[in-house]
Symmetry: C2
Subunit: 363 residues, 2 copies
């Protein structure tokens, strides 16, 4: 038999102890003589003993895995966050199971059912599309849920998020500071709070500057949608010298569209993204963006979840600071004269080449 697996009973027989003593020795729990502990550990190693997590879960009605639901594995921002979450989870001795839901509510519900039936009660969710009632029902059934990056609707679960609205303000303020007045916005899906918050930040600053909000187009956070949205803005005929995009992927798509339309970035049009995905660093021009504090988001979320699993009280929603990263996709607007020949580096303001991370507060 290939699948022959060794259990604590085998170890008990091998050591002449009882299964329960073996169990305790293995876990270093209770009062056991160091000698027997050594004996047990020894034969465990010799017999290639592997604890059966299923049996353990069955007995404990709990598991030491966490689940991580992600709405779109294809958006590079999420993989980066996944890595950070895994790292922090490992720090707690927890393994992370990834559930890619594509934002489909049915898939989410199905995964949550599966997780529950696998005794996995800890879930980090990067956006849940199921209803608040549904979420509350799960929580009532003992599931611990922490929303990461995207809040759970209706405050139905603890959440850890970056301050998207402040990010929207920072991005807009940066463009205003460069001298732009006609600033368009490519917004994310209207149903997502992160999208509306970034948009709100944009409107905040435009309002403060006493400028009417510029042209708006909508995308779904994919590169393709950013491309289409930019084309739409161009075709609309509305004047703009800069675009604030609700995420980096759409910004990249927008830049692609602008160039294919013969517009230079940043000489004629400046573009700001949001997230600070790695791709943006190597894009041409390198993307000016708002950086989300990945490691910190992951750390706070995982620690919060582990706390909840240990019985801690639920805490207030967390908001983490973001920061502006200035690269090459933004510059002062061209002189009012239409057409080509925009002034490059007309002032010392436009940073070129390197990176310039602005202070993370004051917004």
């Amino acid at each position: 038999m290939p699948g022959a697996t060794t259990t604590i009973y085998d170890l008990a027989r091998a050591t002449g102890l009882s299964p329960s003593t073996v169990s305790r020795a293995l876990r270093g729990i209770g009062d056991i003589s160091p000698a027997t502990v050594a004996r047990v550990r020894d034969s465990a190693a010799r017999l290639r003993y592997r604890p059966n997590a299923v049996a353990r879960s069955l007995a404990l009605r709990a598991s030491d895995s966490l689940a991580l639901m992600l709405p779109d594995i294809a958006n590079p921002f999420f993989p980066a966050l996944v890595k950070a979450v895994q790292l922090r989870a490992r720090h707690h001795g927890k393994t992370v199971l990834l559930c890619n839901t594509e934002g489909v509510p049915e898939a989410e519900a199905e995964y949550l059912d599966m997780l529950a039936s696998c005794q996995i009660q800890g879930v980090v969710a990067m956006g849940l599309s199921i209803t608040p009632d549904e979420i509350r029902r799960r929580r009532g059934a003992g599931m611990k849920i922490v929303a990461l990056d995207r809040a759970a609707a209706g405050g139905s679960a603890a959440s850890v998020q970056a301050d998207h609205r402040a990010g929207g303000r920072m991005a807009t303020d940066h463009l205003l500071g460069l001298g732009h007045r006609a600033i368009a916005h490519i917004a994310g899906p209207s149903g997502l709070s992160v999208a509306t918050e970034r948009w709100d930040g944009y409107r905040d600053k435009m309002g403060e500057a006493g400028i009417d909000p510029g042209a708006i187009a909508h995308g779904d956070f994919t590169e393709g949608s950013g491309h289409r949205a930019a084309l739409e803005l161009i075709r609309s005929g509305r004047h703009f010298t800069a675009i604030f995009c609700a995420n980096d992927l759409m910004a990249l798509g927008a830049i692609s569209a602008l160039r294919s339309a013969g517009l230079e970035v940043p000489a004629q049009i400046s573009v700001v993204g949001f997230d600070d995905i790695e791709l943006g660093r190597y894009a041409v021009p390198a993307l000016t963006t708002i950086r989300q504090p990945l490691e910190e988001l992951a750390r706070v979320a995982v620690d919060l979840l582990v706390g909840l699993l240990r019985g801690d009280e639920a805490r207030e929603p967390e908001r983490l600071a973001v920061e502006l990263v200035v690269r090459e996709s933004t510059a002062p607007p061209p002189r009012p004269v239409a057409g080509q020949g925009a002034p490059l580096a007309s002032s010392g303001i436009a940073p070129r080449g390197g990176e310039d991370v602005r202070s993370r507060e004051d917004f």
Copy 2:
């Protein structure tokens, strides 16, 4: 109690039947009167019964989940493949658990242990860094492993791959056909078969054309490494008018480096990638590349794995055809005169704007 869960015992009590009858009724197995089946199903729904997958796994020593090990969640090629695998797995009623290993052998081993202890015996692995012996040991212990995209070392497991070598030939042939003679190559990690196979394909065609292989630089399939490799090629002083990059991400990084060095793509330097990630479509210029048949790869791999789990015999390694996708990053080489002012579209050969998928065979 919130976590109060209803079991088949509850259903048995509610229906006045025995637990085993309930179990059979629920699964529609054995000879049960339709009436009792209905009764059981009915109260199952009423009591919100959820089967306990852990208990089931413990009893069956098996689970209905598959695991998918991926070496780098940050490489956009993998998420795309993940989606395809999930889709196909769902078709078999299987759920997919993702394990992001970062290519770290220890992480792989740990995940495999965990999977085994979770009674998950089906694993699709996109590249395994553990030793062939280690793999064989797992298989001996009842684990079914199918290598996807990257073969398992030493033929230690079934594998489903694209024909990387043919892809390398196609890419090189495309550049030769455009008139390039000085073709550099940015290779992947030397330890990976996919990397060496693509390189082999390149050498095949260069050899057939009677040309000495050009400059070679190495990367690790990340965008940053492609950037660095391209700079290295430039600094080496060796002449080249085209680069075949072992994957799209490095190609994107290389293009970024070339541009920052003042070289136009494709006017002065042509670049070909490999994979056909979505990003390449929106890049500027849009990337000419070798497309891997994602859906087909996923379908064959998952079907193979499900077959193995059902007891089928192991099959021969599969090789799936790739195809050339011509976009905007390739063009005829500039006239021999050094420096700027390369001839754009000097012949009708260079496709611009749209896409042009070449036949997938004859290589």
